[in-house]
């Protein structure tokens, strides 16, 4: 049996070793699929992706990428080993130009390769290419997300993690972003996404996980989770029987 693209087992992590936020989370992502983590505030969703990205210390458990143990590896090394991460806030360097943001994104690559990949990524996002010498701080929320994803794509990551990518975006910009995210997995990458906009996110995902209080609660196919009244009641604020009706 081939290994999952990302497999996390028994993850215990937190901002302080004596105060864990995650209490044994288990999760996997395969190639070519979009997996969404949902759950109420304080469930540990963001902490989990930060722990996998190397920003939050893992005190127990194991993280593997393609079967390779990467538990506790520094964030800058993970970036060079096929893990791309787009944080929720501060996802671009606002005081740097678009071009400079991409230069930083290519830090893990050899110089010539970084230049080649920057041109390649900018050809995918022409809206960024035409404004490459502008400061990222002048971009709109949607454009910043686009730049953040472009930056994360520079290293051609096999796993792309996005922490609440649609936060603060208009419904139209969020829909465009979801289309963009779906496109990412066409080439075989896997996407792990944390979303507050649970219903919309599950609709464009293959599978989903529901976390609460730092623990796994429910997981399964995204369509099944959308139809699960228990999730509507507990996590989405929807009364049983109305979940499907409100799903539009």
């Amino acid at each position: 049996m081939s290994a999952h693209l990302l497999e996390a087992t028994g993850i215990v992590a937190g901002y302080r070793p004596d105060l864990p936020i995650l209490h044994g989370i288990a999760l996997y992502v395969d190639e070519g699929e979009v997996v969404t983590i949902i759950g109420p505030n304080g469930a540990g969703k963001s902490t989990f992706v930060k722990a996998v990205a190397g920003l939050v210390g893992i005190t127990a458990g194991r993280v593997t990428i393609d079967g390779r143990d990467v538990t506790g590896r520094p964030a800058h090394r993970l970036a060079g080993e096929g893990v791309g991460f787009v944080p929720q806030t501060g996802n671009v360097f606002t005081t740097l130009t678009i071009q400079e943001n991409l230069v930083v994104g290519g830090s893990a690559l050899p110089r010539a390769e970084a230049v080649r990949r920057t041109d390649q990524v900018l050809s995918i996002y022409p809206a960024l290419a035409s404004r490459r010498s502008e400061k990222a701080g002048v971009l709109s929320g949607g454009q910043r997300q686009m730049l953040a994803i472009a930056r994360a794509l520079l290293t051609q990551p096999r796993l792309i993690m996005l922490d609440e990518p649609t936060a603060g975006l208009s419904p139209m910009a969020a829909a465009e972003l979801f289309t963009l995210i779906r496109d990412l997995v066409k080439d075989g990458a896997g996407v792990l996404m944390v979303e507050q906009n649970a219903k919309a996110a599950l609709r464009m995902s293959d599978r989903g996980y529901v976390l609460a209080e730092g623990e796994n609660r429910i997981d399964g196919r995204a369509a099944d989770l959308l139809a699960n009244p228990e999730i509507g009641e507990i996590f989405l604020g929807v009364r049983p029987g109305t979940a499907k009706a409100e799903g539009g």
Partner: protein, 303 residues
């Protein structure tokens, strides 16, 4: 008289600027007010003394001055020697004290640790070199007369020119090189820089090297115009902080403009207040900036 004070202010401002660049970067990137930074100026100045002592084995380093300056080629080599030695000292301090503390302690602990490090560094200079003033050169130097009755020493012109060259070089480094751009990225958002593949430990080492080199060069250049004493750097601590805060932490141009403003203000102040109150000027500038524009003149607000 006014023009003379203005020129003197620009010259002393250039030294303050060189020292403040490193302080500004450490405050922004390492996120603590490093009160031991000014001692790196002292060590830089004294490392040059060590170099001259070693070079003296082969003859007097000032024996063949490059006219119209008071010094010869050995001083230029001494600047490099001093910058490298001070950088090594800063990296050792980082490894032994600051890196260790940054993992476990808060910013205030780092600040108080820097007070302790400053005391140690100052007293080690006293222990090794003694309390007596030292001169790089005792040769007499004649001032150049400029229009408007302004007089400047040739060494001061060199000091200003070298400062301009260093600032341009740093500008190119920060805007064109991958390391420089990464340094600005770490300054704004260290976590995002990490997940982008930037090794922040390497960047922090670069911050120390740039900061210590600037301090060392400022120390040596200052030593050209004054006598060397163990309190050389300590006397500049307030102007350095005033320049870094006035310019906005993390800003190269902010540190330069801040340094010039502090230098000029100090020198012009003696036209209206007794010179004994001159050290109070940077302090007043700090208060004014913190009240009216806490992010400094060039401090960038993240949007």
């Amino acid at each position: 008289m006014f023009l003379q004070h203005l020129v003197d202010g620009i010259l002393s401002g250039a030294i303050i600027a060189l020292g403040a660049i490193g302080l500004s970067f450490t405050m922004k990137i390492l996120r603590f007010a490093n009160f031991s930074h000014s001692e790196l100026l002292t060590w830089g100045a004294y490392f040059a003394v060590v170099f001259f002592a070693m070079a003296g084995v082969f003859g007097n380093p000032f024996a063949a001055p490059i006219a119209p300056f008071s010094f010869g080629w050995p001083l230029l080599v001494a600047l490099v020697f001093s910058a490298v030695s001070t950088s090594v000292l800063a990296l050792v301090l980082h490894r032994l004290v600051y890196r260790r503390l940054s993992r476990t302690a808060g910013h205030m602990t780092m600040v108080f640790a820097s007070f302790g490090v400053a005391l140690l560094l100052r007293n080690f200079v006293l222990l090794i070199f003694g309390a007596d003033p030292i001169y790089y050169s005792t040769a007499l130097q004649f001032a150049i007369r400029l229009p408007g009755g302004i007089r400047v020493m040739p060494d001061q012109v060199f000091l200003l020119g070298l400062t301009v060259v260093i600032v341009i070089a740093l500008h190119l480094f920060m805007t064109r090189s991958r390391t420089g751009i990464s340094m600005r990225a770490v300054s704004e958002n260290p976590d995002l820089a990490r997940v982008s593949g930037v090794n922040t430990d390497t960047i922090i080492a670069w911050v120390w090297v740039i900061g210590a080199s600037g301090a060392a060069i400022a120390g040596v250049l200052y030593g050209l115009t004054v006598q060397l004493r163990p309190e050389l750097g300590f006397a500049l601590i307030l102007p350095l902080f005033a320049a870094a805060i006035l310019g906005g932490t993390g800003s190269l141009y902010g540190a330069v403009i801040g340094g010039l403003v502090v230098g000029i203000s100090e020198n012009l102040s003696v036209m209206v207040i007794p010179s004994t109150y001159k050290p109070a000027v940077p302090f007043l500038l700090i208060l004014a900036v913190l009240y009216f524009r806490p992010e400094g003149l060039f401090g960038e607000r993240n949007t």
